[in-house]
Structures are given as structure tokens and as C-alpha cells.
């Protein structure tokens, strides 16, 4: 009970913390080089999309690939629109940086948006040459990263500050976790009160999914006698991916961040599956890796490295699959939207929107399917780590 109120209070507080900034932002956020006024209505459309894509308004040609890539990236603020006079309307998020020179700083991202600098921090542009571990110098892009500069605008030697900011992805992950907590704590309470009975309301939506994961994913792949230990992980990962996939499809403010299409997020999820698989591996599993039954002894020097690589490729494929599917879906939708701005025609908006709607429906299916496949393959890998029969 108290946990639920805590969660609701946190959401309300974060809402109070964020919203006053929207109104103050549009006033103070004038662009340093104000663009020429847009003349025709159609031009204004493509113009704002350009600014949307680049964060930099100008008379450049609309580039659909930068536009799409900028929208699937993790950013420090929620850019909503750019007005005709070059003012940006966006929801700022907290920036938390730790620099070796000046320590820990926290401020809202509107202070460093659109070329401004605050306390010596600003958004990076272009790229720098850095030395990698082998001593070769390679080019490293600074786009989207926060850099520390001195009074003359030169980058400091100390390197990039550590960035712990609440970015769009972090914010949306927090939001999804809160939604999941509210839903499941409420459900758990009503189950505790009423026992297992006819599902009502939200229960009727969630219960089939849980039963589905249990009966169609966990039991057939892990085994009826030991699946229970892994149900919390499987359900968590399923609902986390599902809700983030679905929230990523909603194109306005507190949603739309590309969480499950972020390789870092899918990497961590795959690492969980990897460790759970390794730690639940039994004797037969490790025997299969280091001394495959039926394989001649002289072949083992080849088979053992192959088997060990196989341990890593399975979660690697999990990571890439989720990342690529969600990112590709977002890029397709954004490309269809860019059609309007490529041809600079309002008439193309109709077919474009129909296509976007169609893709969105497919994405709804993909959102569920990818959550299901991630869970299914996790269960399968865990089940494969605990074979029941000895094949020798």
C-alpha cells in the first residue's frame, strides 16, 4: 500500500519538477544565428523538420538519414518543435556530469542546448582524434556528447567528463519501471485479497500473458520441475521489453525514446541471460562444452574453442536481434515521415500517413514478438544449460 503511494508521489514530484521548465525554456532559448523567416507554408514544414533533425536551423537540404538517426539516438532533452522564429520548444532533462577538473555538476539540459555553454560544459560538435590502446590515433565523434571547455571555447585536455545524465532513455526506463511497479503491485495486492478467482479489469489483461509465459515459454523449455526459479527473471524481462517497445512507439513527450533500440540496454539484458545461463549450467552442460560426448579426442582442441565461442554468440545474437528489430522499425517509420519533407508536398502527407499507420500496426506485432522471442530464447538457453539426460 505505502509502496504504491510512494511510486505515485514520485511521478507527481517528477512532473512538478519538469513542467515549469517548459514555459521558461521557450523564452530564454533563442537561437544564436536566427534563421531567415520561412515564406510558404510547405517550406515552413520542411524547415522545422530540418531543425528537428539537426538541432540547427538553416537553409540546408533536408537529409532523411540524419533526420532518422537523430531521432533514434539517446538525447539530453525532449525536443518537441522549433518555431518559425527559431525558438526551440523542448522538455529539458537533468544533466549530471563529473569532470576531473571541476567535480560534480548537475543542471538542466536547456542551459547547454543549441550551442550555449554552462559552467564550462557544452554539447560537442565534430570529432577529435584520440589514441586507442594500440597507440593508433582514431577519430571519435563528439556529437551528442557533453564536453568541457575553457573560457576561449577550447576543449580541455582532461578528456570528456563522465556523463551520468538522466537522458531520454534513462527517463523512459524509469517511467516504464514505475508503470510496471504500479501495475504489478496493484495486481499482487488484489490477488492476495481475493485469491485466485475470475480475473477482472487489468487482471484480465495481464493474467493471460503471465500464464502464457509460464505454460508456453518456461515449462516446455526449462522443464516442469525447475522452471519456477526462473519465472521472475523471464516475466521481468518480458514485461520490461514489451512496455518499452510499446512506449517507444508513442511519438509524443514522455514516450518515444528508443530504449529497447539502444544497444547498451539490449547488451545488459543479454548479459543477464548469459550469466543466468552459465550459473545454472549443470555437469552435463559443462561436459558438453569441454568434452563433447561422441567427439574424438584429437578433435577437442578445435571443438572446445568453438563451443566456448558458442556460449557468447547466443546472447550476442539476442542483443543484436532486439536492437536491430526495434531500431529498424523506428527508422522505417521515420523514413516514411520524411517522404513528406523530401518531396516538399502536402499531398504526399496522405499516403505517407497511411503507410506510417500500417507500419505502426506491424510494429505493434513486432513489439510483442520481440519481447516474446527474447524471453523464449532466454528460457531455451537456460533450459539447454540443464539437460536432463546424459547422452554418453
Amino acid at each position: 500500500m505505502s509502496a504504491r503511494f510512494l511510486v505515485i508521489a514520485t511521478i507527481l514530484l517528477s512532473g512538478i519538477a519538469f513542467f515549469p521548465n517548459i514555459s521558461t525554456l521557450s523564452g530564454q532559448d533563442e537561437h544564436h544565428d536566427a534563421p531567415s523567416q520561412a515564406v510558404s507554408g510547405e517550406h515552413a514544414d520542411s524547415h522545422s523538420a530540418e531543425a528537428d533533425g539537426h538541432g540547427e536551423a538553416g537553409d540546408e537540404k533536408f537529409n532523411p538519414s540524419t533526420f532518422s538517426l537523430d531521432h533514434i539516438k539517446d538525447t539530453h532533452d525532449w525536443h518537441i518543435l522549433t518555431k518559425k522564429d527559431g525558438q526551440h520548444l523542448s522538455v529539458p532533462l537533468p544533466v549530471i556530469v563529473y569532470s576531473k577538473n571541476s567535480g560534480l555538476h548537475a543542471f538542466f539540459s536547456n542551459k547547454i542546448a543549441h550551442g550555449h555553454s554552462h559552467k564550462g560544459f557544452q554539447m560537442g560538435h565534430g570529432s577529435i582524434m584520440v589514441e586507442n590502446k594500440k597507440g593508433e590515433s582514431i577519430e571519435k565523434s563528439l556529437d551528442g556528447k557533453i564536453v568541457e571547455v575553457d573560457e576561449h571555447g577550447e576543449m580541455l585536455e582532461a578528456g570528456l567528463p563522465l556523463d551520468f545524465s538522466i537522458t531520454t532513455n534513462v527517463f523512459m526506463m524509469g517511467l516504464s519501471v514505475m508503470v510496471l511497479l504500479i501495475v504489478f503491485l496493484t495486481l499482487a495486492k488484489s490477488y492476495r485479497k481475493a485469491g485466485v478467482s475470475e480475473p477482472k479489469g487489468l487482471m484480465g489483461f495481464i493474467e493471460p500473458l503471465i500464464v502464457f509465459i509460464e505454460e508456453d515459454v518456461a515449462i516446455p523449455n526449462i522443464g516442469a520441475d525447475k522452471y519456477e526459479r526462473f519465472m521472475p527473471y523471464l516475466l521481468t524481462v518480458f514485461f520490461f521489453i514489451l512496455i518499452n517497445n510499446l512506449m517507444g512507439l508513442i511519438p509524443f513527450f514522455p514516450f518515444g525514446a528508443n530504449v529497447t533500440g539502444n544497444i547498451a540496454v539490449t547488451f545488459v539484458l543479454a548479459v543477464f541471460t548469459f550469466w543466468i545461463t552459465q550459473f545454472s549450467g549443470n555437469r552435463a552442460y559443462w561436459g558438453h562444452v569441454f568434452n563433447s560426448p561422441g567427439v574424438p579426442k584429437w578433435l577437442l582442441p578445435i571443438m572446445i574453442p568453438v563451443e566456448i565461442i558458442g556460449l557468447f554468440t547466443k546472447p550476442f545474437a539476442l542483443m543484436i536481434r532486439l536492437f536491430a528489430n526495434i531500431t529498424a522499425g523506428h527508422i522505417v517509420i521515420l523514413s516514411l515521415v520524411s517522404l513528406i519533407f523530401i518531396f516538399k508536398s502536402i499531398f504526399l502527407a496522405v499516403p505517407s500517413l497511411i503507410l506510417v499507420l500500417f507500419m505502426d500496426c506491424i510494429e505493434l506485432l513486432v513489439a510483442f514478438l520481440q519481447a516474446y522471442i527474447f524471453t523464449l530464447l532466454s528460457a531455451l538457453f537456460i533450459g539447454m544449460a540443464m539437460p536432463e539426460h546424459h547422452h554418453d
Binding site: 508456453d216 516446455p220 554468440t313 545474437a317 543484436i320 536481434r321 536491430a324 516474446y372 523464449l376
Partner: protein
């Protein structure tokens, strides 16, 4: 130039994966038509096999992306 070649490579990978997944889907349809009571099991096996092929295609696409 490299970008074009990478694009062609990604396309080839997708053709291979498409053929593979298409065959799996077709065979699963046949199997379901013959034995509708085994639909659930066939679907699970189908998705697992499709996911494995998709994994191979994704490796190719990652290689194409990196070049």
C-alpha cells in the same frame, strides 16, 4: 564505394535469411495443416528456427554496418 558494397552485402544476407525463414514458415504451415493439434509445438519450433536464421542474418548486417 565501401558503403555501396556493404549495402549489397546486407541485401544478400537478407535474401538468404528471407529464403530460409520462408521455407521454415511454409513447412510449418504444411505441418500444421497435417496435424492441427500440434500447432502450438510447431509454432514454438518454427519461431526458434527462424530466430536462429535471423541471428545469422543479423551478424551479416552488423558486419555490413561496421564497414
Amino acid at each position: 564505394m565501401t558503403g555501396t558494397l556493404a549495402g549489397i552485402g546486407a541485401g544478400l544476407a537478407v535474401i538468404g535469411a528471407g529464403l530460409g525463414i520462408g521455407r521454415i514458415g511454409g513447412s510449418a504451415m504444411d505441418a500444421i495443416a497435417r496435424q492441427p493439434e500440434a500447432t502450438g509445438k510447431i509454432q514454438t519450433a518454427m519461431i526458434i528456427a527462424a530466430a536462429l536464421i535471423e541471428g545469422a542474418a543479423l551478424f551479416a548486417i552488423v558486419v555490413a554496418m561496421m564497414s
